[in-house]
């Protein structure tokens, strides 16, 4: 089989692969390659254009990428590499099946696909405690994503991704918002989309959209960068007449903080911040999370050597290709975090939390400074100070979207 179908050619053209100068900057930035994996984005671009008969190389390489977007950041020619990977995975899986190596035997993707069944009636709200004020119907919803599932599945590594949702709701409640939390919300589909399973991604989109509509939802607030991308950028491409507003919680918080409606109690702590790929390079939110952290008096934010545009991925994406090279990426990232002298690694994404928490448990060659992993919203929710005389009202927010991200 030769990969020169019109569909593949269209991807090469649309994602600007023809613009490649073969300068090699992408490969010199790629964390997979830099940790020793036999994989090169430059060579993949070359093979696709010049040697489409090398199916073995191409098929392997397409599933190797973390889709972290670091290469795109450096490419002088505007090659949309991770978008090309997104399209190629969909195309190759149509022809050859879903062949990427899935971590955890594909259990995570399995529950995501189970959620495409319309008959499912989930019991996913057990974690809601009475102090969290939520509604069943209304214009503003909070999208929790898969965090209840993650905490059960990964309970052996003691990760608490649910804290991201409960603390987000706590913050919304402070702002007088009682969000709708849907009992039958499905996975946003991010991981299925990025592993080439477009049919099931679309099925999840349709079910979620219907669920929002059935409960009168007009705006969806989310705290997970991947949900934000899936709902804000890709769901509108699947749903005709999509008219929901998708808001990132940190955008909303930043507006409120800037209005002076929120203040924080001091926290004497040195922290560093891990930019999630979908939030930083994906959605361009580099300063918003940092600005929020800087609002906490006493909190000292120190940057890792690679930060913002050049931040390094937490080592894994969409639960594929977790291997020795992912571990090396993670170990190097944790070293960078420790080198700052910070005691806490703050992140804004449940997946970063899972992967860094997992890596922190790995045996290390020598004594290591202790490092905690915490969600940005959890720090904010814990330090917030509610001034009784002020009742800040929120205004509307911006929707999702980033460059070149049509599917």
């Amino acid at each position: 089989m030769k990969l020169d179908s019109p569909e593949i050619k269209r991807i090469i053209k649309e994602r600007s692969l023809y613009m490649c100068l073969e300068c090699g900057k992408c490969s010199a930035s790629c964390p997979r390659l830099l940790t020793g994996k036999e994989y090169s984005p430059r060579l993949l671009a070359h093979k696709l254009i010049a040697e489409p008969g090398d199916l073995a190389y191409i098929q392997n390489a397409v599933w190797e990428c973390l889709t972290c977007g670091l290469c795109e950041e450096r490419c002088p020619s505007g090659v949309q590499f991770s978008q090309a990977i997104l399209d190629l995975r969909a195309e190759l899986s149509k022809a050859l099946g879903l062949t990427g190596f899935r971590a955890h035997d594909g259990a995570v993707h399995s529950w995501m696909r189970i959620m495409t069944s319309p008959r499912l009636e989930q019991n996913r709200l057990d974690w809601l405690t009475p102090e969290l004020k939520v509604a069943t119907d209304g214009p503003v919803a909070f999208f929790t994503g898969c965090v209840p599932y993650f905490d059960v599945f990964f309970s052996n590594i003691g990760v608490d991704t649910l804290s991201l949702s409960s603390d987000a709701i706590r913050l919304l409640n402070f702002l007088d918002i009682e969000p709708v939390v849907l009992g039958n919300e499905r996975c946003c589909g991010h991981d299925l989309l990025w592993t080439g399973d477009r049919d099931n991604f679309a099925a999840l989109c349709r079910l979620n959209y219907q669920e929002f509509k059935d409960h009168g939802v007009e705006e969806v607030i989310t705290n997970c960068p991947e949900c934000y991308q899936a709902l804000g950028t890709y769901m509108p491409q699947v749903i005709e007449g999509f008219d929901l507003k998708v808001t990132l919680l940190i955008d909303l918080l930043e507006r409120e903080v800037n209005k002076g409606g929120l203040s924080f109690r001091p926290l004497e702590q040195k922290v560093t911040y891990q930019d999630p790929c979908r939030l930083g390079r994906g959605a361009g939110r580099y300063e918003e999370p940092r600005n929020l952290l800087k609002r906490v008096p006493g909190l000292e934010l120190v940057e890792m050597a690679n930060n913002r545009h050049s931040a390094i991925c937490c080592g894994n994406s969409s639960f594929i290709n977790c291997d020795a090279f992912s571990k090396r990426i993670q170990a190097a990232r944790l070293d960078q975090a420790r080198d700052t002298g910070a005691e806490t690694l703050v992140t804004a994404c449940p997946k970063c939390m899972i992967h860094t928490s997992c890596a922190l448990r790995d045996p290390a060659p020598g004594p290591q400074a202790p490092l905690k992993v915490r969600g940005l919203v959890s720090i904010l929710a814990e330090q917030i100070e509610w001034a009784q005389d002020e009742t800040p009202r929120r205004k509307s927010g911006a929707g999702g979207g980033s460059r070149g991200d049509k599917i």
């Binding site: 879903l98 594909g106 259990a107 399995s110 209840p148 059960v152």
Partner: protein, 141 residues
Amino acid sequence: MARVNILGIACNWSPWCCYNAAGQAGLELPSNFKIMRVMCIGRINQALILRAFEHGADGVILLECEDSDCRYGPGPELGHSNVARVRRLLHYLGIGQKRLKEMTFQADQKQELVDALWEFAGRIEKMGPNPGKPGRERKAS
């Protein structure tokens, strides 16, 4: 009655002995029952069970050795912890914990094994298809 699919995941040692002996003795098994052999119940992870439901199983029965009979040592401990977690996931998903059953057997309990399978098949038939069942057959992935 709706046609349902039952999957058994059996440890290679005592339960598989029972299954073999039942076959040799010509004992009848439910026709909608399929069996998969693993070396130890410690091999069962959350994925095996989730993927069974994803691909259309309506009930999954784990056929295990008694803990003290384990040929490997820590197998049951690991297996039980995985099963406990996946039960919680099945509850969240709305598939329900009743569709997953664990039973232990000694090597000479062929009749008990056959009875357990018939009883489980009857229970699942009453419950009907698993609500997470795919609309059409999923390709193996």
